[in-house]
Symmetry: C2
Subunit: 244 residues, 2 copies
Amino acid sequence: MRNIRLLLEYDGTQYGGWQRQKNSVTIQQRLEESIYSITGEHAEAVGCSRTDAGVHAKGFVCNFHTSCGIPENKVRDALNSKLPVDIRVLLSEEASVEFHSRYCSKGKTYSYTIINRDISPVIYRNYACHIKQKLNVEEMSRAAQYLVGKHDFAAFRNTGSSVKTSVRTITQLDVTCEGEYIKLYGTADGFLYNMMRIIAGTLIEVGIGKRKAWELAGILNSGDRTKAGKSAPPQGLCLEKVYY
Amino acid sequence: MRNIRLLLEYDGTQYGGWQRQKNSVTIQQRLEESIYSITGEHAEAVGCSRTDAGVHAKGFVCNFHTSCGIPENKVRDALNSKLPVDIRVLLSEEASVEFHSRYCSKGKTYSYTIINRDISPVIYRNYACHIKQKLNVEEMSRAAQYLVGKHDFAAFRNTGSSVKTSVRTITQLDVTCEGEYIKLYGTADGFLYNMMRIIAGTLIEVGIGKRKAWELAGILNSGDRTKAGKSAPPQGLCLEKVYY
């Protein structure tokens, strides 16, 4: 069996997230249907993570096993001819038999986009979270630095996954500002369930002055989910890159 | 009667353009319905231009007459409470009785966004035109300079409007490039019907090497619409600003 690795870009607006579900259409489902169309095989598409409903990806990685004879680089165009316009394969290539999109991942970068203005945004509204109150970007940036490094992020995860440890290493957590667009870029060796959205939600609370930057140290140490901020809404989140 | 001026942002994806039509929902229609909801009056919303189906706006200006007593700055929130999420009023203010959004306009800036990459874009696909062939941005920029200044732009308009003269002055036509995003910014004292889209389409043909930059001078002089390029698709176009 061949093992094909795909790089995907998708607009999560219309989907119930990556993973197959009974009550909504998912990206995994659409991809597996397309794989079936071109190979006649019921393959499982193994994803690098389980993005939630409404979350986007510019660099999602997945892989599937097949005995079809389509050349590795032609798989991309064959799948794109079957996929809906809001899911695209950017690259297809043959991987080693052992390659597993989730287990082999060494890290990921997520972005979180905020539109900070009075009136709710129109253009790009599906790709950003709207915050009305003026955000203090410098204070958000200061708060973010408390999270960089190797920590137990138990306070920054929602229940729903059964990973063994909640210790992760964030190597980068930058807050950038360009006009009314504020973007967070977070890179870690792994993210717990909803971790990036809870980080974004907590930094937003710092930005509006509800919390102080230095409080982040205490929240982190508490290991208590109720001490951190709310999960920021899904449409601001985008999986930018997966590292192997 | 009071004369209220509005600054609008809208996502044109779902609309048949600005102007009221029989067979599709338009932005003017939705706005006039909202004005009726808050004032009980059948006012005409006078727009600064007639954007086509699929074209967006970040700074569209319109005005309407009313005898309602809502304070000028409260009109904004009142209308936003009635409008669909893809149309927002950014500002509302009382204008002088003579103010007319179209006749008083001294100029406009449009942007045209291109995503230049192999695979069709997913995120922002409704806000950009996709060009597969690698574009030569420097050559496009050189071509654009032939159009700056006061010229007869008869070669760059489609039939459909009955303006007296096709002479216009372009004060700025910049081509910028950031990664796979190429943006044109055009400012003129006025734009003929489809002018910015025909300029974009012609510059794209220069960018892919189908035409040379210097050919623009001849196209301009010919006054012949068939000499210029195709109209680029509507979703890349955005009305950025109107000057008074």
